[in-house]
């Protein structure tokens, strides 16, 4: 437990250092790089950047101060919008979180359902699910997005093509985001169920005359739950990064599209802040999943 938390802190420090030090890897003076576009190169502005990044201090001191500021919520000013980066992110975070939550519900429900179906039915259903998920993981999200917009947005007109806000607007993006995750979860569910079905206590239950439905629900699925929950957590953690493509494809105003705009307009403070947030969230969620695993599956505890 303590070791895992220490590992969490170490990884967070290492990644934040990489994100901070990146501005030094850029060709040229870090001040001009951090200032963004040429129109920003006024003496006052450069002085402000120097102060924000403490560029006159030794390198490690700069990093320490930058990290301290970031932790207390001071992420500097956007070179593009001239707003506080933290305000920009706070304004856009809710729609991204809604998208991730919506997509998570979709992939957990349908992913597990498909996996269970494939494992229980076997035969044709199984092959169809395996083939479908292989295909789903081979299509990049932006292609799925454009196909969904063309078909359901424009051709059939069932869903709005532009804008955001309502659940209705978020449906197509959430489906796109969920599709790859759904494929992974259904595979893991199927595999885990098949492994559990071979175990002795399931044979005993079957020999005892329990109905197949009860066996699947109480014995097979219960035993298979550990890896499934872990994988759901890991996939959800990675989803924040997936919003980069999906939000861009659907023109949603979230954290992901903020990052893409920031890079295309050389707005490095925003880029750093969004990357820091996404990576920190990813590390935190994956660590939480690792810590939760023994609680869901007691066998892990006894094995350790």
């Amino acid at each position: 437990m303590v070791r895992k938390l220490a590992g969490l802190v170490a990884t967070l420090l290492a990644t934040s250092f990489v994100i901070f030090a990146a501005s030094y890897a850029a060709p040229g003076d870090p001040v001009t790089f951090l200032a963004g576009g040429k129109e920003n190169l006024t003496p006052e502005y450069l002085a402000a950047i120097r102060a924000q990044y403490h560029l006159d201090d030794p390198f490690l001191v700069q990093y320490g101060r930058w990290l301290g500021d970031a932790v207390t919520g001071d992420l500097g000013r956007s070179t593009q919008y001239h707003d506080q980066v933290s305000d920009l992110m706070a304004a856009r975070l809710p729609s991204t979180l809604a998208l991730v939550a919506y997509a998570s519900v979709l992939f957990v429900v349908f992913g597990i359902a498909l996996g269970v179906l494939a494992a229980v039915r076997g035969g044709r259903t199984d092959s169809a699910v395996v083939a479908g998920t292989t295909f789903a993981t081979s299509v990049p999200a932006f292609v799925t997005a454009t196909v969904l917009i063309s078909l359901f947005g424009v051709q059939l007109g069932w869903f709005p093509v532009m804008g955001g806000g309502s659940l209705w607007h978020l449906t197509l993006p959430a489906v796109t985001l969920a599709l790859g995750a759904l494929a992974i979860i259904s595979r893991v569910t199927r595999q885990s169920m098949i492994e559990q079905r071979e175990l002795d206590h399931v044979s005993v239950a079957r020999a005892g005359g329990l109905s197949e439905r009860l066996i699947v629900v109480r014995h097979v699925f219960r035993g298979a739950l550990g890896p499934i929950v872990t994988m759901c957590g890991l996939v959800t953690a990675g989803m924040l990064a997936g919003t980069v493509t999906v939000e861009t494809a659907f023109g949603l105003n979230g954290i992901g599209s903020l990052l893409v705009n920031a890079i295309n307009t050389h707005d490095f403070p925003v880029t750093q802040a969004v990357l820091l947030l996404m990576v920190a969230a990813y590390i935190a969620v994956t660590t939480a999943v690792e810590l939760l695993h023994p609680l869901i599956d007691p066998r892990v505890r006894s094995r350790a």
């Binding site: 990884t11 290492a14 990644t15 990489v18 994100i19 990146a22 501005s23 890897a25 850029a26 060709p27 790089f33 395996v130 292989t134 295909f135 993981t137 081979s138 299509v139 990049p140 999200a141 932006f142 292609v143 454009t146 196909v147 917009i149 063309s150 947005g153 424009v154 051709q155 093509v161 532009m162 992974i184 595979r187 893991v188 595999q191 994988m231 890991l234 953690a237 990675g238 924040l240 990064a241 997936g242 980069v244 493509t245 861009t248 494809a249 990052l259 893409v260 920031a262 890079i263 295309n264 490095f268 880029t271 990357l275 996404m278 990576v279 990813y282 590390i283």
Partner: protein
Amino acid sequence: MTTLVATLSPKPARPLGQLLATAFLGLVVAAAVLAPLVAPYAPEAVDFAATLAPMSPGHPLGADQSGRDLLTRVLYGARTSLIGPLILLAIASALGVALGTLAAWHRGWVDAVVSRLTDVMYAFPGLLFVVLIVAVFGNGMTTAVVALGLAYTPTIAKYTRSVALGECGKPYIDAYRVQGMGGFAICVRHLVPNMARSLVGYLVVLFGEGLMSLATLSFLGFGAQPPSSDWGLMVKEGQPAIVQGAFLPVLVPGAAIALVVVSFNVIGVRLADRMGVRGT
């Protein structure tokens, strides 16, 4: 990306699927090589009379918003879309195999350093590590390919290390050592060639994935820049036309990406299975 490979179906794909995949990839490679000979137009030939033209004998797959022939652009796009992943895998496998072999051969602190580096890279979910490099060094195909090459290095290093660990335990390694052969010579002449079989299957699956990642970067505007006919960029450029009811500019390159990646996955899984069976 590792989870994806690890959870691929252990069941070998049907021979028919593999045959189709191989044939299709052969076709794509031929298209890339022969593009100037078979393409009906020049890839950058603008013709505003044909803006968003539907399928017709003159434009078999239609035309985009500048009236550029889509068939021509998809054929030419096969070049960037295949060469990009090839270069990025060359970078990634050169670095990854070297690091993985080094870690497995020396163990101890070298192994620890390599695995710590790998951990930090893995802490960036999805393409975020590549996005950071692009943010620093500027958008463009070269940056995108090199950055992806670096991003795939830990994956290959990890895989190589696990294969090399198994291989190092085999008696022939000790035999060479006893004969007085140096560690470097054993690695380069015997260890790496013996691992090549299992690495190839893995690299084929990664090729499809690399193509997908590179297309995604181009779609986001980080990779190939106009007027390139890269498939990802074509989807990006075709997007505004969707609301006008013209789907061909996005569907044609989108389908090309999806079909190529599916083919690579089908063949890669098959190869990986065969290598796995021979290994045991």
